[in-house]
Subunit: 365 residues, 2 copies
Amino acid sequence: MFSHLETPVPLVDLDRVERNLDRAATYARSHGLALRPHVKTHKSARIAAMQVERGADGLTCATPREAEVMQAVSGDLLVAYPPVDPHRADRLAALAAGRVTVALDSLHAVDTMARAAAGAGRTVHVYVEMDLGMRRVGVASAADAVAIARRAADAPALEFAGLAFYPGHIRQGVGDQDAALAVVAGEVERAVEAFTAAGLRPPVVSGGSTPTIWRSHEMGPVTEIRPGTYVYNDRTTAVIGACSWEECAFTVLATVVSTAVPGQAVIDAGVKSIGREPVRGAPGEGFGALLDRPEVTVRAMSEEHGILDLSHTSWIPRVGERVRVVPNHVCVAVHLFDEMIGIRDGEEVERWTVAARGRSPAGGS
Amino acid sequence: MFSHLETPVPLVDLDRVERNLDRAATYARSHGLALRPHVKTHKSARIAAMQVERGADGLTCATPREAEVMQAVSGDLLVAYPPVDPHRADRLAALAAGRVTVALDSLHAVDTMARAAAGAGRTVHVYVEMDLGMRRVGVASAADAVAIARRAADAPALEFAGLAFYPGHIRQGVGDQDAALAVVAGEVERAVEAFTAAGLRPPVVSGGSTPTIWRSHEMGPVTEIRPGTYVYNDRTTAVIGACSWEECAFTVLATVVSTAVPGQAVIDAGVKSIGREPVRGAPGEGFGALLDRPEVTVRAMSEEHGILDLSHTSWIPRVGERVRVVPNHVCVAVHLFDEMIGIRDGEEVERWTVAARGRSPAGGS
């Protein structure tokens, strides 16, 4: 299997990617939602271009480097990360993209971004990020959110552009979905009312994650969605029922290097190739599973070793045999590699650089 | 604190590194042990050169790229990873280093390495890896180990050079150290006897890890140690008592980006900067702790967010404030960055590339 490639190496099934992108584009279009995919999952201009070709209305980034790389692909970038560090704000203000929006959740971040934008002589758009249950970032009260929006609206170099939230606490197939979505929808409605009453009607209401992607239209006045993982999917997305196993497009090709200990086999992909991410939101042991034998999981790892659990399979692996691992969390696994191998029908068809990986200015190291 | 740097960014305290290297070099010399540090922790020619300057007898690598980068620093490289993948074996056989040794644990790996070495017209040395309780790789029986050594000794392009094991299952301060060391010492003795009886007396007995480093001389006929983590240390090494907190030389500098949720603060370093590694071998919550406030741990993470647990501190962080995180497992955190910032006395003094990160041939991307 892919005998010309040295392992461990990441494979991207481009036929599956295209189907995943088409499905999301069709969904967004049919519900009148703007689709602004998050590039953190693939960090690749190659894949971002496929998203834009299919009608993405812009791209979402987390880091300055992601934005620097992606401005070659789209002129409309959202950086969904608060620009608290002034160096970060300066890099965002220096972007050449036609429209740059940042999502933030504090007066401190507004002021930092306002200074950087004014210094660069440009306008930066601002979404105010609210916390609707994720308990990570985002302001909890509509009154605080309105105060931040007001500060942005009053800053000469900023323009208030909308309201953002991330429903990452809702996992497909976990708990009472209908109730959780109704709660979020109600909170978004009330937030929009509070902004509107303050004379700051949000032009955009940006929400949506991969686990909730197919129910985004039920989240009240949401106008825009920002899924990331849907492009490749992963074991967690499959386990929680937000994709099928056949929609998993990313695998790490690995070689069995030892079968010395009964009941297990050791592969040459460990934490430094797969990442140590748990299945979240559903029961699931291990850190990944084999594409062709999902009952075989990566039970334990060290840096360059993965231990396959053979207790639920009749498969008897041989030293030298190759396997493909679907990681639990693809965004973390992609971040571990510099280059992706694109495949179709079991053959390599192209390679591309994960150009938005790393932190230094794009064009630098 | 380091206000000229954009966060998240990795800092290496070079004064601490020098003390860590000096201590290990003195220990090895005083016990007549060869010191062959594992470069997986730092992946940097800069640090490897400091190790060689202090008398390291060679270097240990895991990946072909590590070996390709490190051959500029040392002419004596051990690749402590079985060359089962033929591409991997070919890259090792093509190394320019004067002496290349591989550790392996199967006849399959012997044959693969023998073919590659013969093809390259060179001799490769072989350690046979035994399992003394780690249950990862390594053959369990001395008879099987001798058979592998025999196959290597008989291959024209290979030379049997020793016995290797990794006592990673013994953690400083965990369980009955004395008993565990005595068991390992006894097993190593018996293995050496079995090899010697078969006419294959091992010139080198290579063992030793960072957690056991200061007791390596108690492990029977060990002649060589291969510690990796000791150069930087990390929260796990400190928690298990194998180093002091003041010997932790690696931190990730991060910025507080949100204090919206009571009882926690959010920093801009998450899984993609710190890694999601548990404390192993001792109780310890979270994924890292603050250098200046070890009672504050990174309780949870997403890709670019870390959640600080403030329940054991009177510290009230402000948005924009900076902190330094000691990760649980430094080898995994280093692998996430392309460049290190060297500091002394709280000031940046140099930068270097983590050149052995990644998988492609050194000199390529």
